[in-house]
Symmetry: C2
Subunit: 583 residues, 2 copies
């Protein structure tokens, strides 16, 4: 086995870019597969190792009845599969249990044989013989089983700090960040901005390498566009960090001040959440934005970026954390580069306070599905525009066109158009339909609209096109519109176009979405347009923060009580005043 790229590149290449692996190497491989499911003849393992070395095999796959080597007997809490065996680290740590059906001897013998073969030059993977297609998956570079390689200690030892340790360190640093002065926090942001500008060249070189690799791998254009740091981008990022630095400090705000009793004063003050995990697809600029928001709000941060932006993220992370002083600690912001998968990170609900996914709806939905950590984001954006019979149809046309066409892939774009039945066959409505079609919007109809406009039937009212298409339906009145939206919507942004103010107020009062609009395009639902400054995300959850969320989404509160020796003592002597004091 002779990969051109030694060391850690081999790891990334091996596990993460299987296409290259197959294209470049499949032909050159000789492999040996030993199946040892009985567990009785465990000499098979050492026999296999000897044979593999004799044949100078490129890879030895040992099949077991468990998924690979575990840190503790499989099934025990905290037992975790070890993806790369590093003798120096794992030798003492692993406890061999007897839960596996091959018994204690089975895995011990396999590890011994694997270490032997690997140290003599033949890499070994121990994988499950019961799972489907294990061998094919190993050969395709999938990250299954446990890899033994003579260079393994070089790849991982200095890097592999687990995400749990990273989260704990980030929290410690965030506490230090909170306790320094507001001016010192401001200075960190200015230093980060300076460091980004000073290292612009370096950042662009790494980003260009990512872009080139993505182009070579044939990724789609939109991904490459998001991945690319265009000329001037670094400058505009550093500029926005300087604006953030000059923003009012959000930490330590007194939100409420109450005198509980004589000489006993209670304050509710804002403070950081703690540790925030950002999972973002290949957008290196998101890393910079989020990191600066975290510093501004006093939070620790774990970053898990898309693999396509690996080099860009690494250099940006290095530049940013290099600007964080030792009094706070560069571990304030951790970049998760270990091969721990997102599901592993999402289990850390005891040390991570909030997850913010930045990426596709699918990513958000998957994250929401698989974690108990609160998630700030939205999986769906099924936004409605309802045109009431009282609508000014010129206004309706402008709003509907903007809501659909301004940026069809945005989460706040219109996906469903609801039309009051009295507007059928009106000139205004016909105009609107003609114009939508003229702009290239494909219309799908509900049961009534598909007949009225002779358009194909929509498969479901709960559908997000994210493209130049939308669903249309005829409904009886505002109450039917409200019911439709409650039933099929995603509680993101919904709009009524109406001149009748009573009808409009009914809609505004009863549609239970994060944002409800009257006579304005759904596209206004956005942190910047709402004047919130930096946007953390748009939340459709009902807890903590809802709709477009600014920096306050990264904050919580603490109650601070200052007394002079007061005790409760059965409330016998305390005279509660509960007087609101000025802030």
């Amino acid at each position: 086995m002779s990969p051109e790229d030694e060391g850690e590149y081999f790891v990334h290449w091996r596990w993460e870019t299987c296409e290259m692996f197959i294209d470049r190497c499949f032909q050159d491989y000789i492999w040996i597969i030993m199946i040892d499911s009985s567990g009785i003849f465990w000499d098979n393992d050492s026999l296999a190792a000897l044979l593999a070395l004799e044949l100078q095999a490129d890879l030895l796959v040992l099949l077991s009845d468990v998924e690979g080597l575990y840190s503790a007997p499989p099934g025990e809490p905290h037992s975790k599969i070890i993806h790369t065996y590093i003798k120096e680290r794992h030798q003492g740590e692993i406890t061999f249990g007897d839960k596996s059906r091959v018994g204690r001897g089975g895995m011990t013998a396999k590890v011994k044989a694997a270490v032997y073969a690997a140290s003599a030059g033949t890499p070994v993977v121990i994988a499950s013989g019961f799972a489907t297609n294990s061998i094919v998956k190993v050969l395709q570079g999938e990250r299954i089983g446990t890899l033994f390689h003579q260079d393994a200690h070089l790849w991982a030892l200095p890097k592999e700090v687990g995400p749990r340790e990273m989260a704990v360190s980030a929290r410690e640093c965030s506490r230090r960040l909170q306790s320094i002065s507001s001016e010192d926090r401001r200075k960190i942001l200015l230093d980060i901005a300076d460091a980004l500008e000073a290292n612009e060249k370096l950042i662009r070189i790494e980003n260009e390498a990512d872009v080139a690799a993505a182009q070579q791998a044939g990724y789609e254009k939109s991904l490459i566009s998001r991945l690319t740091l265009k000329p001037g981008k670094i400058l505009s990022l550093s500029k926005s960090i300087r604006i953030l630095a000059d923003m009012e400090d959000p930490i330590g705000h007194v939100l409420k001040r109450t005198e509980l009793a004589d000489g006993l004063v209670l304050e509710k003050t804002s403070c950081p959440l703690g540790v925030v995990l950002i999972v973002f697809e290949s957008r290196p600029d998101a890393l910079v934005q989020i990191a600066s928001l975290a510093v501004r709000s006093g939070n620790g941060l774990l970053l898990k970026g898309g693999k396509e932006a690996m080099r860009s993220n690494a250099i940006l992370h290095k530049v940013i954390t290099g600007a964080i002083p030792d009094t706070v600690g560069e571990k304030l912001i951790g970049l998760v580069t270990s091969r721990d998968e997102i599901p592993d990170l999402l289990k850390l609900d005891d040390v991570i306070d909030l997850v913010i996914p930045r990426g596709s709806n699918k990513l958000v939905a998957q994250i929401k599905e698989s974690t108990k950590i609160p998630v700030l984001g939205h999986a769906d954006g099924i936004c409605h525009v309802y045109i009431d019979k009282s609508a000014d149809m010129d206004m309706a046309k402008c709003i509907v066109l903007d809501a659909k066409i301004d940026y069809p892939a945005a989460c706040n774009a219109m996906e469903t158009l609801l039309i009051h039945k009295d507007l059928l066959n009106s000139e205004g409505l016909n105009d609107l339909v003609v114009e939508l079609k003229g702009e290239g919007v494909t219309l799908y109809g509900g049961p009534r609209a598909s007949i009225a406009f002779n358009i194909p039937r929509a498969h479901s009212f709960h559908h997000e096109y994210n493209s130049m298409a939308c669903t249309v339906e005829i409904i009886d009145d505002v109450h039917a519109a409200i019911d439709h939206i409650q039933h099929y919507g995603s509680a993101h942004t919904d709009c009524i176009v109406a001149k009748d103010l009573e009808v409009a107020e009914t809609f505004l009062c009863q549609v239970d979405s994060a944002a409800v609009f009257h006579n304005a395009s759904t596209r206004f639902c956005d942190g910047a347009r709402f004047g919130l400054g930096a946007e953390v995300g748009i939340s459709t959850s009902r807890i903590h923060a809802r709709g477009p969320v600014g920096v306050e989404g990264l904050l919580t509160t603490r109650w601070i009580l200052r007394g002079s020796g007061q005790v409760v003592d059965g409330d016998k002597e305390v005279v509660y005043t509960h007087k609101n004091l000025p802030l």
Copy 2:
């Protein structure tokens, strides 16, 4: 089988009060057990049924290799064990798969035999033959397996509305509750207060029956005390509902008003969360408090009470929902009486917005562990008092004694006392220790304190006694105190006693707990003492609400935007003003 109480009482009695079951009936039973693990000789099932009838057996237990009868093949999503088989309902619903090792025939034959035996008078339970002690558990009345009984259709058919349907109905009603006027919501609360008073006698009769049953069952005194509605309690509850009715309406408050652009005004307004699930141990007064808070805040509610308060909860629920007008709908508040267990309820994260557990730490911890619905509550209350070297030792003594003794079982009671090392051997500290011991507080020490005071070693610093005991440790300074609290505390309430204001501010700023106090007893951490009005709970989570939570913990916000036809259109023409407007 001839239980004195027919029908549904049999069910409750059977599954829920196993002691009675054994005491009263165990001797009279004849039972037959057929083990059918091979699945080949499935005539065994009908043979068993015939034999059971022939012997006029009281119960037939059929053992299978799965837990019981499932609504779909076990392992499929949404497949659920059926606890009581009702022919009329389940016959068409159940799909028999072939995943079970006994094959398709096995379960079909068992159900057929069970229906046959049950309809002829011998109840049948199908349970797992692999699980430990299945037969003993069935005989002890545990709710395992699937029960077949000739009267099953009488017990469950009219009652069993699933919790999912209840949550959906509660949300619909809550939307109607939101859309009526504030005055009408106030009137509902007043009507509930009147109805409680008018039905006081009835409520007390049912409550007395619960109390009598609990006493007979030998429950501990504290449970019976919580269960009992003492004389005057109904009156004091109705009085507090009237106070709540006259409180400022929390719904529809405009929290922020911004002009985004000319004629485009954004408002952030308060609105109900949606549907709240309350899981409470046997405290019928909690039902009344929470139900009235839900009405006040416009939320739908699901109540799951302790089984010991079954009759009290049923009558209170009936009286309260009877006072809710049809314009809103009595399904606003659902009482979960079906035998669905709490874990089933906690899976409904798509229709329930918040869970509030009211009960033991264990209950809260279990709920937090097993749901993705946000939980408002606290599992631990490990509160610290740190006595700085600058403390006024008389004040320290008062605060420490109050924090520990005022109500030792409360979550805001002191569990750990940290003492600055310079105070060792001082008269003040010796006084304090003597007084604590004199009051009957058992002291456990950390490594340093156990030697200094000659007291037994505490097993762990992370320990909540909830009784007249506490941990004591000597530490170097305020920074060590902060580190200790971050490491071993539960982020509930922590206190510093100090004259040195700089040291105090360091503590107040750096201890990252929900409540941090200077020179005041930890016992002040309470919604009523904080002046929040009705208390929903005390939250140690960092998201949504923190510390003592009033009615605002049941609210979220919506963004309401009123325009006059504005569109985004690439932000080409919009001139954003982002002007704060008066509220």
